[in-house]
């Protein structure tokens, strides 16, 4: 990331303007040619520095009112296999291995499960219980109660 990439990021990280001449408008703000801006953004997209360009829906507003962070205690030597199996389920949006904090926190596998109701989420959780079988030494569901902050990445301006 050089200085120009950084300027592009700080100019676009809170969102794109809703104007017809979109890239021209941003380029003008940065005092560069629109072609250079597009070239840099394409490069960042290709390298994965930009995951995607698009809309982030508020899943509550779309009716996905039940959102559980499911956390599972599985053997460390099985976690890659089990994590990949969980991640492949269509209703799991994020799946990670994270560190335990014994004895406070025994869980090492995290999977976000979304549904339109708690009932729907419970049914999906049962599928995970079946999938993990006796490899699972315990699990909990942490339902979200409210979003306290959601701004995404914010680089400081240079």
């Amino acid at each position: 990331m050089d200085e120009l990439d950084r300027k592009i990021i700080t100019a676009t990280q809170s969102g794109l303007p809703l104007v017809k001449e979109l890239y021209q408008a941003i380029a003008q703000q940065l005092n560069i040619e629109p072609d250079l801006l597009k070239q840099r953004m394409k490069k960042m997209l290709k390298s994965g520095q930009i995951r995607r360009i698009g809309a982030v829906p508020n899943h509550y507003k779309l009716g996905y009112k039940a959102n559980a962070m499911s956390v599972w205690n599985v053997p460390d030597d099985m976690i890659t296999k089990l994590g990949n199996q969980l991640g492949a389920l269509s209703f799991v949006s994020h799946c990670y291995e994270r560190p335990r904090f014994l004895p406070d926190w025994p869980y090492n596998l995290f999977a976000m499960i979304h549904g339109k109701s708690k009932q729907e989420v419970s049914e999906k959780v049962q599928q995970v219980v079946t999938l993990l079988g006796n490899h699972c030494a315990g699990y909990e569901l942490l339902y979200s109660k409210q979003i306290l902050k959601k701004t995404g990445l914010r680089l400081k301006k240079v």
């Binding site: 995607r52 809309a55 979200s144």
Partner: protein, 147 residues
């Protein structure tokens, strides 16, 4: 929100063009006018159906770090601790969850060192223990929400 709004949301979760007149390109795919698309997109952002619209940067690929962190906040201090935690620019998301571990926030920082520095500052200001749970392995990220 009507069917056309739903189509806009579903289409825009995919790839937005890095070309001249990108909204025109999307509007044509949806069989609507560019003006109508821009108006509707503005309303969807205004009424918070969309949280944001733009590039999603991967801070790790940009040399920075992400971490999920948790705090067990006593219920009578929840508002105060929320204010403290949210005041850090490095806190990208923060959720209240229905559990003894009731506050879960994501740090996005420009270096790995800043994760620990920020968490130490949060622990000091709140007087509470911070559990730093960075991902050790990623198995899957991404779900297409059907509107």
């Amino acid at each position: 929100m009507d069917d056309l709004d739903r189509q806009i949301i579903n289409t825009l979760q995919g790839n937005f063009p890095i070309e001249d007149h990108p909204y025109q390109i999307i509007a044509e795919q949806l069989g609507m006018s560019e003006d109508d698309l821009l108006t509707r997109l503005g309303i969807l952002l205004e009424d918070k159906t969309l949280i944001r619209f733009g590039p999603m940067y991967d801070i790790q690929k940009l040399g920075g770090s992400f971490s999920l962190c948790a705090i067990r906040v006593p219920s009578e201090r929840f508002e105060e601790v929320t204010r403290i935690v949210n005041s850090f620019l490095e806190v990208a998301h923060n959720y209240e969850r229905d559990h003894e571990f009731n506050m879960w926030y994501v740090l996005a920082t420009e270096s790995l060192a800043q994760i620990d520095i920020t968490n130490q500052a949060i622990a000091k200001k709140t007087g509470l223990k911070v559990y730093n749970m960075p991902k050790l392995q990623e198995f899957f990220v991404g779900l297409h929400f059907e509107a």
